[in-house]
Assembly symmetry: C2
Homo-oligomer: 194 residues x 2
DNA sequence: CATATAGTTCAAGACCGCGTGAACTGCACC
DNA sequence: GGTGCAGTTCACGCGGTCTTGAACTATATG
């Protein structure tokens, strides 16, 4: 991730990088590609992964690595690695056009599947780990005993929150329906876990 | 953000950092503090902002900057800056205990308000910017004319997606109810914007 | 087999955010 | 005014990630 830690900065000075004068891209393409790059970076991936995917998506037809390299002004090696990542995540497919010797790459168009996939691979695993840590902490805290009730309650609140989030995420993976309201509802100020 | 770009790595080798032997923290505190630190970092903030907030939250009573400094093994300057950020975001309050000369800091306990606040300040502003960019791109694309219908459709699909996300977020800010299902539902493979 | 082009890998370096620590400000108390 | 402590600011260095570019492998073609 790069530059969106608004520690200061005027309101409205939101980062997102302006489209750099890249090669032959039409302005509208350039803007879109950069926009997606920004989103993807915000999500914790590499900006260029987003740019590559966006280009493929907008072009509709499969491009070769060389074309991507030129359009987005990336290095040969870089493109190779970016494509491999995208491929592994199912965001891009590698296709061989009959009669042709080079690989071409086309974007996965099912956005829902992509998002679900990412959430499954990354967020869910992460949240599970956090939930487990907090459960362990709770176990230990109860074990030592003699803690002020209030402190224990707070720890438990955090642990419960993590549990709810995990459950919501797993449900989302299965149904594509995410309901955060249920998770947070129980945690309005003062409300206790239930 | 730091280390969660699983470009490789075995499944299960999830990062999240193990509690380092920090000062006098009880093990359960240490685990919890680090867990929150990881979450916060994952969210695109600084790990230490999360650690500080977690410590204050778990202790229940306001701590001085010096105490935080010792407990979390941070530098004086660092703590000062971290607290300022947290304060600006309403995640921490600065309180003056009667009869005492030093500032103390206590954690905001309303998690819902905190999340809402962050989403409002950061995500919403960001998404708005993206949505605007894509709208502009669409305008330009239509302007040039003569584009293959398929390409235009794809651009429009992205733009519409951004619009929906923005609307959902703004609704969330007002109601604390987030329904992503609606946003994504319209974008299952093949489905067209409507 | 020689040559050329596509594709991969990886070490080196550019780049950038973060925390440190020292200098500085402000304030209380004697 | 002077001493000491709380708090702020900021230049710098460390540690991390991302990209480059060159060496390498693979594959097709004459």
């Amino acid at each position: 991730m790069k530059g969106y830690l608004w520690t200061g900065g005027e309101p409205g000075s939101q980062k997102t990088v302006a489209p750099p004068e890249n090669g032959r891209l039409a302005p509208w393409e350039s803007i879109s590609v950069e926009a997606v790059g920004n989103v993807i970076e915000f999500w914790g991936f590499k900006r260029n992964q987003g740019r590559v995917w966006a280009l493929l998506y907008l072009r509709g037809e499969p491009l070769t690595a060389g074309e991507i390299e030129r359009e987005l002004e990336l290095s040969k090696g870089g493109v190779s690695m970016l494509l491999r990542d995208l491929e592994r995540w199912g965001a891009v497919q590698r296709v061989r056009v009959p009669q042709d010797t080079v690989w071409r790459y086309s974007a996965e168009t099912d956005l829902v599947r992509m998002v679900t996939h990412v959430v499954e691979e990354r967020e869910a695993a992460f949240v599970t780990r956090i939930r487990a840590d907090l459960a362990e902490a709770r176990r230990l805290a109860v074990g030592v005993g003699g803690l002020p009730a209030e402190r224990l309650r707070r720890l438990e609140r955090m642990a419960t929150l993590a549990e709810h989030v995990e459950r919501a995420l797993r449900l989302f993976i299965r149904t594509s329906r995410l309901d955060v309201a249920g998770v947070l509802g129980a945690f309005r100020d003062g409300a206790l876990s239930r």
